[in-house]
Symmetry: C2
Subunit: 490 residues, 2 copies
């Protein structure tokens, strides 16, 4: 285990890259911008998926699957959607390769598609084209569907998990008979995301709405959850869009209401992606490696034996068997690291790097004393405890760690929501530790764009249940009714 | 519920198409060859995935994720792989669209890729290129990785689930230090597939090996499970490949053995796909609709109330609540179909079409008598039983149905393995009810190809543990050591 990753203070960005790599989470592939998610990283993503999927089902949604490809012409159908998505994406133009006779594989020019296909950057268009066939009357509504899929957006500057050309995500697409119901769904799913972030990822978030400028292409309203990373930059962790009747109009999806009236269907879409992996890593980890909330840790407890003789090894093994079966009964995942090719110190460092929440070390003296050494990853503290009632103690400890990690992140976030009343103060905070800057804004796209040009900070959101307060825009001095949250963002 | 699907006898192929459609399993999309898997169909696929995934994990595998795209040049690296896969596939040539100024979206010719990317038809090449970085020594082996993903093969004639341009699958890719271990893995995974097919899908299979001609492109040996559909055609339900050192050589993946010797790594790959959905549908269903094995049925029990008054409806509802909670405690999924927009007869037909294994009907007279009407989908029989101890009875009934469906399919398969000793007999069987034809074959690719040209039948497999028996090839009369199984196949 070669330790020594760059510290956060030294270079936060480099620290992140090294951590993702050394903790075996992901790596760059031979295809520009596309990542390989390694087994340990994927195991975390699977835990995220399972929790989210259950929450979607508990709120009445079903999964389905729609095509990877979208006919090019579909992108022209929803005007604002075109601008946002029909630009940087992978285009399939041919459907065959051939051997050129000299042993080289080339594209068969005879196999050109009549209409080019776009690898989906998001699926509103192909899905609403499908919904047209599913919806005739109010009896067919609502449609509450989610899809787990890969999508491609041709990003020029990529970072593992945070911004990749191909990424994994889920996209919910719902259809409703009324505007009210669609808005309720949009809000409900934002709430699902916020609950998941806080309860599972131990990641406190601000719930809010995007300004017009930051809205999803084709949405009337975009709700979001925003989290704060340890470098004071924000990260958008999930979005839920109220799409109005835009896509129904673009794809001519009408329904007959109970009253016999013909109307366009109301829509929502909502998604989170493997970006959440980036948020999880950056929010909690430290200079020794990953810190994982127990609920998402693929391995929750690791046991490292320390022995000199075969006899000691055997005795430790027996104790470990008993403990392991007790822990498994409680649904706690355990790994017994009995490799004889590595020394305990190496193992400690490896599991620390990989963020296993609880480590148990067990040696000959412990056997005699009826104790074990119990170390928690988040605080890097350890204590010697009785091996009696250990499974119960660990169960409580895991719950405690989950809570502690959340509270630490919450305290940091709350501390870093900074109210400023002038553009000078605004720039000072950005030049310093960063965070969410709560400031008055005149409500115009123009001001938002100019602030972004000058400082790289964007309006992350208008918090839900924001309190109204008269003030003046920090940039133009024009009147403002409420503060919004600015930040530099990933 | 518009019933009346074409009968199997009338037109098996049409029956299948209508069934897939009317039971809400899947439909064709706007993109040629790509399907939409609808929520009810996807729910079955999810159950398959969950069971298989657990079996993979129980045999030591982890999931990971590799890129959707593969650089074109990778396909030239493994000679025989090229022939099999670098032909009919989707080619990405550009990475940007643009607005042509006249409001039309066109491909931006300035954004042409230097090297074209292929949408993966299978991932051996990109994965072995990645494994090169993961493997140095025997300590890094074995690598036991699986991926759940979408793949694309540009099929000209497509049928929902059975043959589509894009399909969903899992592909396992393992790396080993020895040939023996890799072969053992290949065999183990075939066994996992066979167990899954028989225990979960209630689908009896023949375990066998492919002839050279039918082998996976790049494999030294391809093991397969073959199932028989009700029209006497075979369906390959899963394959497990021993790849030897072919891909390690193509991508230069070597390791240092325990003894300090440098050698190429040994490989396997294995996969099953949404094709299994086609097999499941075709193997068990009847002219009234889908017949699902209880273990894969999204809804295992449906309850239909029959009432005239509000009071009756209320009393039935109370009984249903109690029963539902008892069934749920047993892990049995239940749907209470209390829609007031449809009549009981309509509901019966709908759930029959959708293959729900057990239906309970509950009316006013049942309330008085303390009974319910219990109908099983597979035999289309019903009986009136006491509502006392109903949950236990249903649990047993579901197990019984699972077993019955399997035994029925098993009897059919065994009956349709026909030994023939002449080419005339061979053709007679094919012209009649079909099935697996057990016949002697001279072992040459030439003969196999000619039989296929003349009869469309292919060698499905050489069964594992085949008994050796001297005979003469039905086509050439040349000597043969064993019988192989021929069939027309999907």
């Amino acid at each position: 285990m070669s330790k020594g990753i760059t510290s956060r203070k030294e270079d936060y960005s480099q620290w992140y890259n090294e951590l993702v790599n050394k903790a075996d989470l992901a790596e760059h592939s031979a295809v520009r911008g596309c990542m390989v998610i390694k087994p340990y990283g994927y195991a975390i993503w699977e835990k995220m998926q399972a929790a989210l999927d259950q929450m979607f089902k508990d709120t009445g949604h079903s999964n389905a699957y729609f095509p990877l490809f979208i006919p090019k012409s579909f992108f022209s159908k929803e005007a604002s959607h075109v601008e946002g998505f029909a630009t940087e994406c992978a285009v399939v133009t041919h459907y065959r390769l051939k051997n050129d006779g000299a042993g080289k594989i080339v594209v068969d020019e005879d196999a050109k598609l009549e209409e080019e296909l776009i690898v989906r950057p998001t699926s509103e268009t192909i899905i609403w084209n499908t919904y047209k066939g599913w919806i005739q009357s109010y009896r067919d509504l609502p449609i509450l569907v989610n899809q787990w899929a890969n999508v491609v957006r041709w990003e020029m500057r990529t970072r593992l998990f945070l911004r990749t050309a191909e990424f994994l995500w889920q996209e919910g697409h719902t259809a409703h008979a009324t505007e009210e119901e669609a808005i309720k769904e949009t809000e409900q799913m934002l709430d699902v995301y916020a609950t998941f972030a806080e309860k599972w990822m131990a990641l406190p978030v601000v719930r809010g709405r995007k300004t017009e400028n930051e809205r999803f292409a084709g949405a009337l309203d975009t709700y979001c959850i925003e989290a704060l990373m340890q470098d004071g930059k924000a990260l958008q962790a999930g979005t839920s869009h109220f799409l109005g009747q835009n896509f129904a109009k673009a794809f001519d999806v009408k329904f007959t209401s109970k009253e016999g009236k013909l109307d366009y269907v109301w829509a929502t879409s909502w998604g989170v992606s493997t970006r959440l992996m980036g948020a999880l890593i950056m929010a909690h980890s430290d200079d020794a490696g990953l810190v994982l909330p127990p609920k998402l840790a693929p391995i929750q407890v690791v046991i490292v034996p320390i022995y000199k003789t075969e006899e000691e090894s055997k005795q430790i093994g027996e104790l470990v068997d008993k403990l392991t079966s007790e822990l498994k009964q409680k649904g706690i995942s355990v790994k017994y690291d009995d490799r004889d090719t590595q020394r305990p110190g190496f193992k400690f460092a490896e599991w620390e790097l990989k963020g296993v929440p609880v480590r148990i070390a067990l040696g000959a003296r412990d056997l005699q004393n009826g104790t074990v050494e119990l170390a928690r990853r988040d605080t890097q503290t350890k204590e010697t405890v009785s091996s009696e009632g250990l499974a119960d103690r660990i169960e409580n400890l895991l719950a405690d760690i989950q809570q502690s990690i959340f509270e630490k992140a919450l305290a940091y976030k709350n501390e870093r929501i900074i109210e400023v009343n002038s553009y000078e103060e605004f720039k000072e905070v950005l030049a310093g530790e960063g965070g969410f800057i709560s400031a008055h804004w005149d409500g115009t796209v123009e001001t938002e764009k100019r602030v972004k040009e000058e400082t790289k900070a964007t309006i992350r959101c208008i918090p839900l249940n924001n309190k109204l307060e008269d003030g003046t825009c920090i940039f133009t001095g024009k009147p403002s009714k409420q503060r919004v949250l600015f930040a530099k963002a990933y």
